[in-house]
């Protein structure tokens, strides 16, 4: 039995996630879509906080909400003119998208509902301490992630360089 407070918090978060997601993909103004995405990401971060993953929630806000969405906004500002609405969707496309999404929803939802009932309670857990997270990231032993960490860092570097190369203005 959860406390009413947490249920209310949960309901707020869940509603925010769903509504913001729907709005992000249906609005015809691209900048608004980015904004809704930002809210959806915030809501997700809130969800992480509620599940006691504070570090993850912080990363989510810092990287996703702070970094990526800013990238989006910049690129939107670079590539479109304010006040532009994207064209109305072709009905065929909308039908395709809707069927796809609904089919997925039905199948996945059915599986979820028919399978996930048995896992009920939120087990007792505590916020993982920062030191542990740091050790796990930097260690090389079993269940430690130095190699992926390094791989990711190299990948990020590659992306930076790649981004620069691709987006560079071609002088000739």
């Amino acid at each position: 039995m959860e406390s009413v407070g947490s249920i209310i918090v949960y309901v707020v978060i869940a509603l925010a996630i769903v509504i913001c997601s729907v709005l992000a993909v249906t609005t015809r103004k691209i900048l608004r879509a980015a904004t809704y995405l930002l809210f959806a990401l915030f809501a997700t971060a809130a969800l992480y906080f509620q599940l006691d993953y504070e570090f993850l929630g912080a990363v989510q806000i810092a990287v996703y909400a702070g970094g990526i969405v800013v990238l989006f906004v910049f690129s939107i500002l670079l590539t479109s003119h304010p006040g532009d609405n994207s064209a109305k969707l072709a009905s065929r496309k909308r039908v395709l998208g809707l069927t796809g999404a609904l089919l997925l929803l039905i199948v996945a939802g059915y599986s979820l509902i028919s399978r996930c009932e048995m896992i009920t309670a939120l087990p007792q857990g505590e916020n993982p301490p920062m030191k542990f997270i740091g050790e796990t990231l930097m260690g090389t032993g079993h269940g430690q992630y130095l190699l992926p960490f390094e791989a990711i860092s190299v990948l990020l570097l590659a992306c930076i360089i790649g981004g620069v190369v691709v987006a560079r203005k071609n002088n000739n």
Binding site: K93, L96, G97, G100, L103, L104, V107, A108, Y110, S111, S114, R115
Partner: protein, 674 residues
């Protein structure tokens, strides 16, 4: 006997071929001619020595105490081995017929070599182009022919058989810029090749059942080191091998008969027997000395020689011998008929050759040991010998005429007896010899043949006598048309035709003399089918005294009557020939067109083989087989064009398809597993 001389006999012409063929074009024409002639002369002398040693030395390896002539293998090294004991050997077999053929071939070949020195240049002494090549080919031919006659085994014979075919091809096509010569050479090669196919299959059958290629294993038994006597036990053993095999019969004939008939088919091709004779008249496109050497005296008798070589084996199968008789008799008559109407003098001689070779075939076909110790065999070989001499003589005369006149056509000749007396006399001797007038060579041999045929069957005797009459008739028709009649006016500024230089007349004279006296050679003691002599003792007149005068008288009178008819019809220009032609227009027409054999063959080869087999196959290959292969490629390409629309580049479509797949899989999982 030391193998040195036999080796040189084979090696010298080959060496001549290589020397003249490889370095000939750097030599002077005269040098090449002299070299070739000398080489052949030496070969001839060596062949004479060998033959003389064989016949008259009385050495125990050649003749045994009873006076039976033996077969002697001088050398026989292995050339190509197949399995177990089966191997092709290249050897040198001396026996009566090979010794006889050695003499015939080298003599005629030498004459032709000598004669060509004069023939292969024009009246101003300008040499024919390719003169050295001509001598090289002549040497190659001589080598191949010598190799053929001394073959110790049937495969060696086949090898040289092919080689003579090839050298004949090269020589017929000597004037290779002339389309008719090219097509004639091609025809000769292909027709004989077709016949050789039969020969080859015959060899395969024979060698499979007997496990050997050696002639000595087929027909004789070993009586000493390298010496063999013809003995019926050997062919009987062969026959037993066939009859005891799991499948002794095939399509109603015994396998041995089939083998022998197929081998005879090879002989039919080379010897121009009836259905396969069509190449020989065309082969006259070659230079005339070549016709004399190859297409009259030597190569064309290879078929006869082949049958003679295997004669004891043929005795085992009457059917095969009967087939030979019938083919020979039909060919003889057919060729004689055609020869009566031809205009080209070489064609007449060619058909006469076919007819005479058919005589030899008939003679072999009717030969039976029961009748006069196989008289037919001896007569056939005798005729081979005499025919080689007088037919070479006739051809060389024809060559002299053609050289003098510049045409093959008798209508361009007429009345030449005044201008070319030596040629005239030689030709007359040749005609008398072939017509069978006593005492010329042809009389004796032909008379022996007729006797043999008479002993076998009256019907064929009458038939062959008629052919002999026809022979006398067409030869004298030719003689009169060339040398009598009113001569043509000689155009201003031209020389009158005259006898040719000594290199050409000398062979004529020699051969004429030989044609006069060759009939007196006591053949019965030299060449018989089993080596047994026919007479107790011999002298110069043995042949004359041993004559069966009842047969001789009839054939003589037939010949004389035929000559008389020819004289009446053709001595002077008169309307009789035309009258006869008009009386039997159809017959004359068929004879003139050689019974349309060539047209039939043209139809078969061009319309049926090319038109109905080769072309459809080529079409089938290009369009069906290759079309199928291209079709695979086409289908693949079409298919990829058809499905490349799916690769639209529209990522949203891809995602939708992907999603659809995921949902489908998910649904299946959810429904079936959960």
């Amino acid at each position: 006997m030391e193998p040195v001389i036999p080796i040189i006999i084979l090696a010298l012409p080959l060496a001549m071929f290589l020397v003249l063929g490889l370095c000939g074009h750097k030599m002077a024409h005269r040098t090449a001619g002299i070299l070739g002639t000398l080489g052949m002369g030496v070969t001839m002398v060596l062949a004479y020595i060998t033959a003389f040693t064989y016949f008259f030395s009385g050495a125990p390896e050649f003749i045994n105490a009873e006076g039976v002539r033996l077969q002697y293998v001088v050398f026989n090294p292995e050339w190509l081995s197949f399995y177990k004991d089966l191997a092709i050997k290249i050897g040198f077999l001396l026996d009566p017929i090979s010794a006889l053929l050695l003499v015939v071939i080298t003599t005629i070949s030498f004459m032709v070599h000598l004669y060509s020195n004069g023939y292969m240049r024009d009246h101003h002494g300008v040499w024919e182009t390719g003169f050295q090549r001509f001598y090289a080919f002549l040497s190659l031919f001589s080598f191949s022919m010598l190799g053929l006659v001394v073959a110790t085994n049937i495969f060696q014979m086949y090898i040289f058989w092919e080689l003579v075919g090839a050298s004949s091809y090269l020589l017929i096509g000597f004037y290779y810029t002339k389309p008719s010569a090219v097509s004639a050479s091609k025809k000769a090669f292909i027709v004989t090749r077709f016949a050789d196919l039969g020969f080859l299959i015959g060899i395969l059958i024979l060698s499979f059942y007997t496990g050997t290629f050696e002639f000595t294993d087929f027909t004789s038994v070993n009586v000493g080191k390298d010496t063999f006597a013809i003995d019926m036990s050997a062919p009987t053993a062969i026959l037993a091998k066939f009859t005891s095999s799991p499948a002794p019969m095939f399509l109603g004939g015994s396998v041995l008969t089939w083998a022998l008939v197929l081998i005879f088919m090879g002989g039919m091709g080379k010897s121009a027997m009836m259905p396969l004779h069509i190449w020989l008249p065309d082969a006259m496109e070659g230079p005339t000395p070549v016709s004399a050497l190859i297409h009259a005296a030597t190569m064309v008798v290879a078929g006869v020689y082949l049958v003679a070589r295997l004669f004891p084996l043929y005795l085992m199968e009457e059917t095969a011998l009967n087939i030979i008789t019938v083919v020979g008799a039909l060919t003889a008559f057919y060729a004689a008929m055609v020869a009566c109407t031809q205009v080209d003098i070489k064609r007449v001689l060619a058909f006469s050759t076919i007819s005479q070779i058919a005589f030899m075939m008939v003679s072999l076909g009717v030969a039976r040991p029961e009748f006069h110790h196989g008289l037919g065999y001896m007569a056939g070989m005798f005729h081979l010998f005499t025919h080689a001499m007088f037919k070479a003589l006739l051809f060389l005369c024809a060559g002299a005429l053609i050289h003098a006149i510049g045409s093959n056509d008798y209508t361009a000749m007429h009345g030449l007896r005044k201008y070319m007396p030596i040629t005239h006399i030689s030709f007359l001797i040749g005609c008398l010899a072939i017509a069978g007038i006593i005492p010329f060579a042809g009389f004796f041999s032909k008379d022996e043949i007729l006797t043999a045929v008479f002993g076998h069957s009256i019907f064929w005797y009458i038939w062959m006598s008629a052919v002999a009459g026809l022979t006398a008739f067409y030869m004298f028709r030719l003689y009169y048309l060339i040398f009598w009649w009113k001569e043509h006016k000689i155009p201003e500024g031209h020389h009158a035709p005259h006898d040719q230089p000594w290199t050409m007349t000398l062979p004529l004279v020699i051969l004429a003399i030989v044609s006069c006296v060759a009939g007196f050679v006591p053949f019965g003691n030299l060449v018989t089918w089993n080596g047994h002599p026919m007479f107790e003792s011999v002298n110069f007149f043995t042949n004359l005294t041993a004559l069966d005068w009842s047969v001789a008288a009839i054939s003589l009178s037939v010949a004389v009557i035929a000559i008389l008819i020819a004289t009446v019809m053709y001595k002077k220009e008169n309307p009789l020939p035309d009258k006869m032609k008009n009386a039997l227009p159809r017959l004359w027409d068929w004879c003139y067109h050689r019974f349309y054999w060539d047209e039939l063959y043209m139809f078969i080869t061009h319309k049926i083989i090319f038109g109905c087999i080769c072309k459809p196959i080529a079409w089938f290959d290009r369009h069906i087989i290759d079309g199928t292969m291209d079709g695979f490629a086409w289908v693949t390409q079409r298919l990829s064009f058809a499905i490349r629309g799916l690769q639209s580049g529209n990522i949203q479509f891809y995602v939708w398809v992907y999603l659809f797949g995921v949902v489908l899989l998910g649904a299946i999982t959810a429904i079936c597993l959960l």
